[in-house]
């Protein structure tokens, strides 16, 4: 692979590495306590002691952006993990065995995918209740169909290749063929869709928190901050900008990574 010649991949890697570094540092250290309020320092414009200013409660926006990006990242990663794990099982089995099982599961899949995902997520939240962990569960469930579909089509394609027939003719069992032989071979196709899925999860989390059903105050989350910031759009635009730019960087980084990977494998 000639990743170093791929500008998308390089740019994506740099942005993602930067965001990951910020998030990791934010887990152990932030300039201020993200939830510490200060009546004297409300709505400060960016200044040396508060590089991104303060919000309506006098909380340091930089600290909150770092903390919020961390929360968003963890939720998105957990969402993708749930969707991917279940998608691998569902897609792997349906793609490998085909037949009526495949038809039934995939039509159910289509039905789920046909609903607007935010709407379905809100329905699930209404069932589970709001909060950080319920958001992960709801979004994770919603992400299963898209991963299952990618895995299914790729497994179905690999299944007909000679090396799989060869393994079968060696007397290998179905699970051995599916998990030992086929799954590693679908990773190249899976990686870009994991990156895209991660992006969708970031946006979905931000939307949910913006609608106040995700991360609950006083905890910071990028979507939550956007919601709080919209009341001060004209008086304190840096508030909304900070949270918005953080979301953009997260999404852009993974988007470029996915683009770069797709290009690499597509050209190969």
């Amino acid at each position: 692979m000639k990743i170093k010649h791929n500008k998308n991949f390089t740019a994506g890697a740099i942005i993602t590495a930067f965001m990951l570094a910020v998030i990791l540092i934010g887990m152990v250290w932030t300039p201020y306590d993200p939830n510490a309020m200060s009546g004297a320092e409300r709505m400060l414009a960016p200044c040396p002691s508060h590089p991104l200013g303060t919000d309506n409660f006098g909380r340091d926006i930089l600290s909150r952006v770092v903390e919020g990006a961390g929360a968003t990242f963890v939720i998105a990663a957990a969402t993708v993990a749930i969707g991917l794990a279940a998608g691998l099982v569902v897609g792997g089995l349906t793609g490998y065995y085909g037949g009526w099982l495949d038809e039934v599961v995939m039509r159910f899949n289509d039905a789920v995918a046909a609903f607007p995902s935010i709407l379905l997520a809100l329905v699930l939240i209404a069932l589970f209740g709001s909060g950080k962990y319920n958001i992960i569960l709801a979004l994770g469930l919603l992400f299963i169909p898209s991963f299952a579909r990618v895995v299914r089509s790729e497994v179905a394609r690999q299944k007909s290749l000679d090396y799989v027939a060869g393994a079968r003719l060696m007397g290998a069992g179905d699970m051995r063929i599916l998990f030992l032989h086929i799954l590693p071979n679908i990773i190249p196709v899976l990686l870009p869709s994991v990156a895209i899925g991660f992006n969708n999860a970031v946006l979905a989390e931000a939307s949910m928190s913006y609608l106040s059903v995700g991360v609950q105050p006083p905890d910071a989350s990028l979507g939550r901050m956007l919601n709080e910031a919209q009341g001060y759009l004209l008086t304190a635009p840096w508030y909304a900008l900070s949270a918005g730019v953080a979301i953009i960087l997260l999404v852009l980084g993974f988007g470029l990574l996915s683009e770069g990977m797709g290009g690499e494998y597509g050209a190969a």
Partner: protein, 262 residues
């Protein structure tokens, strides 16, 4: 007892209703090298797939018997079949580019069949794999063991495939056009390798090919298949020198002749 005894095999594809194999009878003795020739669509590959158990059973209707050491493979369940597949019957495919898993080290693929069918330890498996790789003429097996398929040439890959089939010493090796994807010099090497393996270890070889000259180089007897039925069978030399069926004659006439220089 014959090693393989196919009796009145009929194979019909349910999806198209086409009868690909119409009443094939065939016997193979242990250690025998038999060629099955015919044009594309003559049913030769379907016959081989039927006896290797690779046909998706829900898509075909098979009647007749495929007796392997007296046991009817068509009547076996999938798990019974798995006990025979790989262990007693090995298969070599046409396309060495796709018949190896691209993400698995060559050595691990060679020893895969041992992992499935024996209780050998990792070290024993590795030793057996290295031995098999040496026997099929892969130079420096230690290094080849650690390589991935894309690092090998087409001929080396086909040797690795043969090694992976031979490592457990099956009684029958089914070769489906094993040399078609290779260039001519490598073809000759692979054919002589198959011949020496068969002679040294007493493995029977069931060769499927559209190319009579390939069959002639490897097999002592040959069956000619046309439209799902065997139209002529006998010793390879006899069939070559004195073909009795009209189709066989046309097939032999289709072999390009070497030009004589005066």
């Amino acid at each position: 007892m014959a090693l393989l005894d196919i009796r009145d095999l009929h194979v019909t594809f349910l999806s198209t209703g086409k009868e690909a194999v119409r009443g094939v009878d065939l016997t193979m003795e242990p250690g025998q090298r038999l060629g099955l020739v015919g044009e594309s669509g003559s049913g030769k590959t379907v016959t081989a797939m039927a006896l290797s158990g690779l046909i998706e059973r829900w898509n075909v209707n098979m009647t007749g018997q495929v007796l392997f050491e007296g046991r009817d493979l068509l009547a076996c369940s999938r798990s019974q079949l798995r006990a025979v597949q790989g262990k007693d019957i090995g298969v070599v495919f046409q396309e060495p580019m796709t018949s190896l898993n691209p993400l698995m080290k060559v050595g691990r693929q060679v020893e895969e069949v041992l992992k499935i069918h024996t209780d050998l330890s990792a070290g024993q498996r590795r030793a057996r794999a290295l031995e098999a790789m040496e026997q099929v003429g892969l130079r420096s097996p230690e290094r080849t063991y650690e390589k991935y398929p894309h690092q090998l040439s087409g001929g080396q890959r086909q040797r690795a495939v043969i090694a992976s089939a031979m490592v457990i010493r099956p009684k029958l090796l089914i070769c489906d056009e094993p040399t078609t994807a290779l260039d001519v010099t490598v073809q000759a090497q692979i054919l002589s390798l198959l011949r020496s393996i068969s002679e040294e270890f007493g493995v029977a070889i069931f060769l499927i090919s559209h190319d009579l000259s390939v069959v002639r180089r490897l097999c002592e007897s040959v069956c000619v298949m046309y439209k799902g039925a065997i139209v002529e069978r006998g010793d390879t030399d006899r069939v070559f020198n004195d073909p009795r069926d009209e189709y066989t004659r046309r097939l032999i006439a289709a072999i390009p002749k070497r030009k004589r220089h005066e």
